[in-house]
Subunit: 335 residues, 2 copies
DNA sequence: AAACAAATTGCAAACGTTTGCATAAATCTT
DNA sequence: AAGATTTATGCAAACGTTTGCAATTTGTTT
């Protein structure tokens, strides 16, 4: 900060024009002669000029900022460190930047629960992207009905007054289960928490696949963390022995928890128990055995999220959308 | 958004006082009588009032926003999805919120390389937290010497004109190596990229421990990703066979890459090769065998980062600081 | 060359806060 | 009870942009 910050008026004086002209020139407004525009833009660059966004936002009533809220349930151990959630945030960041928007990061216990007020009325952001539906959609519902431009990463099939973008969880659950079945598994566990919006869809897919195969469903309901999965499988093995030969886990982290419990008891994966996860996090490819998983196209989803948010800001009404999923076939389910 | 946004003047009219009074009351300014303050604050709450931050920022020249920049090298594959980097961001977010600050997330290829201008002169943020030194400190140096309030997560021992907070990487490397030695390993590989600031310190620690034990150092220099580690170890095994019995990996993700290569060849961990990672990410506890690792105290570091940034904003000069590390002893190194 | 249209630029008023200073009301002094 | 303090409020000017409108310059038409 060599000297005091340059403002539009200073540039104007330097160039011998009015501030309006400089403002328009820097915004590439065709009202200004091309020649003057070029000259002023160069001058700005030369002096390292940059607009005061506070002033600009005040005047235009636009921020070009999007708030991203990581929406965790109060009663889960699933933490803000969950690799998948953070991966999504990373992707959304990229997508936003592509559209010239900035990302204000928040977790769900920020200031108040009143998102409309905290983010929008206060002109902190133009819109909100919520990552994760959680178990309760009350906060989201409230914000949406207050007219806040809002999109959600979650399960698109959930009926809602706001657009939800997410994977076809039902299909994911179904494909994963069918894959296990076709690899010869007969007794397949569902490992996860069917109370959770997205996971309940995966569970439905699982059930349908199981029923069609005339097999018996068996749900181990746990909090969606690796340690809960580890404990859950361990306990099951202690109490009932190896009463299953396949696991469809509701996330990769959960799958790894299960994998650990199995390995510790020298139960072979995939020979004794075939395993499929969900999310396809980086670790899935590196674990041994590598973990078959349902890959969510987070990159594409992020772009769609941003596009839908922009559409809302432009006054259009938008709908929920499913992004395709894909089974990544690795060792843990192969036999 | 039922009706038009309430502003300070509207509240004032409702209460029959001036805007100055409302402004002061909401900021808990003792100039205003306690009674009036209470009354106005209640009124504000009742009407869901919230300040226009744009106006406020323009007037006060403060934003209460901190930009967090994930500073990746251009030439590494280490991605924005690296669990450890994102973990740190999560922790920083928590720490910032604790101090009433907000977090503007950016990656290093934002708008321009001129951070001083882009973030500070434009009044987007009051200060910057840089996560990761990367190989080149040019950007950071430039911003710091422009007088930008700035703190860096990195290696605190790097000489610098700006404060760096980070783990005692030298000690970490040393402790990890000594631990491997004391578990009977004789030929210990260092797996990582010694060109990288933080990792070079870990490497120094490794070297000193090796030399003191009169053992022979052996560095496998790779990009700091799991897949590079996997390939690196694989290649080494192909070319020279099992010429080592311990690995000190520069990160957990790298350790997992190595682990996979070893497991695929039925090399036992820890019996044939003992392994220690760095970062103690969630997965370290869940892998099988579980991964011994040097745990960085990211939570404490985050708080310190924020405190130091605030101190700078208050005009104080601050210094780099080391946060303690800890060896988490798990199966991968135990024999 | 006058009258008109089109292309450029400038003027000045917002946007909604905060805050130094002046004022008004309440309390204290003597 | 009138001045001197202290306490509580209001006035009005900033903060740095953007933008409708007016004004000027330039080019075109008759």
């Amino acid at each position: 900060m060599n000297d005091r910050k340059l403002k539009l008026a200073d540039l104007a004086k330097l160039a011998g024009v009015s501030t309006s002209t400089v403002s328009r020139a820097l915004n590439d407004n065709p009202l200004i002669k091309q020649e003057t525009r070029d000259k002023l833009q160069q001058l700005a660059k030369k002096h390292n000029f940059s607009l005061n966004t506070a002033a600009s936002r005040l005047r235009t009533q636009k921020t070009n900022v999007v708030a991203v809220i990581i929406n965790l349930d109060g009663d889960t151990e699933q933490s803000i460190n969950d690799p998948f959630l953070l991966k999504i945030v990373g992707e959304i960041n990229l997508a936003l930047n592509k559209f010239g928007l900035e990302l204000l990061l928040s977790n769900s216990f920020m200031a108040s629960d009143d998102w409309a007020n905290y983010f929008i009325n206060s002109r902190r952001a133009d819109g909100i992207i919520v990552v994760g539906q959680g178990k309760s959609q009350a906060n989201i519902e409230a914000a949406a009905s207050a007219g806040v431009p809002l999109v959600v990463w979650g399960d698109p099939k959930t009926p809602s007054s706001y657009p939800i973008v997410g994977s076809d969880n039902y299909l994911g659950g179904r494909i994963a289960t069918e894959h296990l079945l076709s690899n010869g598994a007969k007794n397949i566990l569902f490992l996860g928490d069917p109370g959770h919006a997205e996971i309940s869809e995966r569970h439905r897919g699982y059930l349908d696949a199981i029923n069609e195969a005339k097999a018996t469903p068996h749900v181990v309901s746990i909090d969606i963390t690796s340690s809960a999965a580890y404990k859950g499988i361990n306990q099951l093995l202690v109490e009932k022995g190896l009463c299953f030969d396949g696991i469809m886990a509701c996330s990769d982290m959960v799958a790894f928890g299960a994998m650990k419990a199995l390995k510790e008891r020298y139960i072979s994966i995939p020979n004794d128990v075939a395993l499929v996860g969900f999310d396809d996090i980086a670790m899935a490819d590196i674990s041994h055995p590598s973990l078959s998983s349902i890959k969510q196209n987070t990159q594409r989803a992020s772009v769609i999220l941003v596009e839908k948010l922009l559409a809302q800001l432009a006054g259009q009404s938008v709908e929920s959308q499913v992004v395709e999923i894909e089974l990544v076939n690795r060792q843990s389910s192969q036999r």
